[in-house]
Symmetry: C4
Subunit: 191 residues, 4 copies
């Protein structure tokens, strides 16, 4: 099967996820600069989630550059990833409206762990489909960066149970770590 | 007529349907794990509907691999399918917010029956357009799986009128039955 | 300029317009079949608007089959059409929630007139760009069907000022008239 | 890396931004023409923002006609632009619901400045990637029009602090200035 519709569908879902999150930022009733203060925590969450969806889209983009075709297992692994990312608007709104309280920050980290795990599963499904000797498998190598991220998310959740803002800072740190696109694949691509 | 815009438009509608359903999950007012309990039924409905849209997208994807071009009748049969799928966010929200009460569960099943019927009509319109001797017609064969699904949805609606949760379980069973992608077509595709 | 991004952007906007209209159908509070009655007028409006967006997408699809490339004027004529269609969710919700009262039905007709006019302008812009001797210009011929539609919409608005439901019936009649895709272009396409 | 997915993703985000803005226009409770008056300021804001998104989509379209491939830096510069444009529904709703009061109009101008700056950064990233001798670099030349726009937005913000409606008029003036598509690139394209 061709990969083009999987890419188009994923682009569509990610574009909607990234855009409807802004709907969680309710228009404030006041008209002063102070009335924007109430929106600030939701705005910060929005920025963080926007960057995360951007990272996933970026890495998805890089990853599928090396994909030749897709199997049924890949289609479902991809939908599984999109499922967890589609929960981001919900947890973004919950964390933001409650000004980074403990439980919402911890649940946000839980969604990040599930999305990162779903991405690892997707990569595995693609490698299984293409074979261990494929350009894709060689470009990916080990998933060390993804596994480290999951561990740090776990640290972030534990941190959040003590100091919620610090936990959110840990998530922001992982985002910063990923802002650099996946060099493993760019190196492999013919220039 | 080319099939590419029909695919792009369907991908767009399905991507939006699958994503706006999450908007039915209202951010809870509390900030404890208990406050998530109130969202749990809507979340379960969301998972079920997400899987259903995923199945339809998957089967649509498989089906159109064998489609060469489309006619006016195919365009409208496709829009008819998208119409019933676009009602999923509405019935998902209704069923979830009312914690799987009788009538919403029955209406949810009614929408599933209409969507499944619309899919059968779409398949028929494609076979009429391509001819009974086409690769598409041979790959589809009989629509036995689709017809069985409609019968089981009917059983689910009757069950729901007695035990709503059991009725929802019947719908989940049909979803599980379809999680395996349509082998009929994958077999026919040149490898 | 290539036409592909104009098509993709239009598909995106129309897919979103057709899908967010369903958000105007608010989940009812009751859980009986009777509680669905309150949603029925919005549902009927949704069906009508869904068919209208389907018609526009269909005709847009047909029209652009013959388009070779696009100019700046075509881009803006297309955006102008999308603007009026993007108002459909608003007037659909207004007409439906007020059970087809006089003013909302008349305003709905006004939006239909503007969208139909915008479509005529788009066709003219395309003919200007391709030349009067082009396959496109010959396929379109006169815009008689579009002009008749605008006249009937006007009749519908006047009718609505007296009998709102009858006015809505007139709009439904025009929709039925257009359900048959544009044969002018299908005839011209190489089979 | 290919540019096609960047274009598809951008088209998706812009299509959603342009369409969900209409959701800020709440269906009025009354059913008279007078009840539409309350919606008028939001409608005017919607028209202005619709035109702005149209301009960005148009210029993005023109710009990427000359783009051959994209780098990681370009992907992020593009996401950065989409981020600021995704804030348009929020500021549109805020400005409209408060009938063009001072602070919302000033904040709206601030978002316009950020979006225009993000566009300049995107153009710079593309030129860096393609080289100063590329057709793209020669077609762009200096970014004088973009820089002038930013200056006028600044004038608009200062004006808005004194006469909010006049400030909004300044933004409308810049929009009018851009309605003419970017001739620099159209001239360079092979006809």
């Amino acid at each position: 099967m061709h990969k083009s519709r999987l890419e188009a569908f994923s682009d569509g879902v990610l574009a909607i996820v990234i855009t409807i999150m802004v709907l969680e930022m309710k228009v404030p009733h006041g008209t002063t600069f102070e009335s924007l203060h109430a929106v600030l925590p939701v705005f910060l969450c929005y920025v963080l989630s926007f960057i995360y969806v951007g990272i996933y889209w970026n890495n998805h983009h890089h990853l599928f550059q090396l994909v030749k075709d897709v199997s049924g297992a890949v289609l479902w692994a991809n939908l599984h990833l999109l499922f967890w990312l589609s929960l981001l608007p919900f947890v973004t709104g919950w964390m933001g409206e409650n000004h980074f309280e403990r439980t919402p920050v911890m649940v946000y980290g839980g969604v990040l762990i599930m999305a990162a795990t779903a991405y690892l599963i997707l990569v595995r499904a693609l490698i299984t489909h293409h074979g261990k000797q494929s350009a894709l498998a060689r470009a990916i190598g080990s998933d060390i960066k993804g596994i480290i991220s999951i561990v740090i998310y776990g640290v972030g959740i534990v941190t959040a149970s003590l100091h919620p803002w610090l936990g959110a800072g840990v998530y922001a740190f992982v985002a910063a770590m990923w802002l650099i696109p996946d060099r493993r694949i760019e190196k492999t691509l013919p220039s």
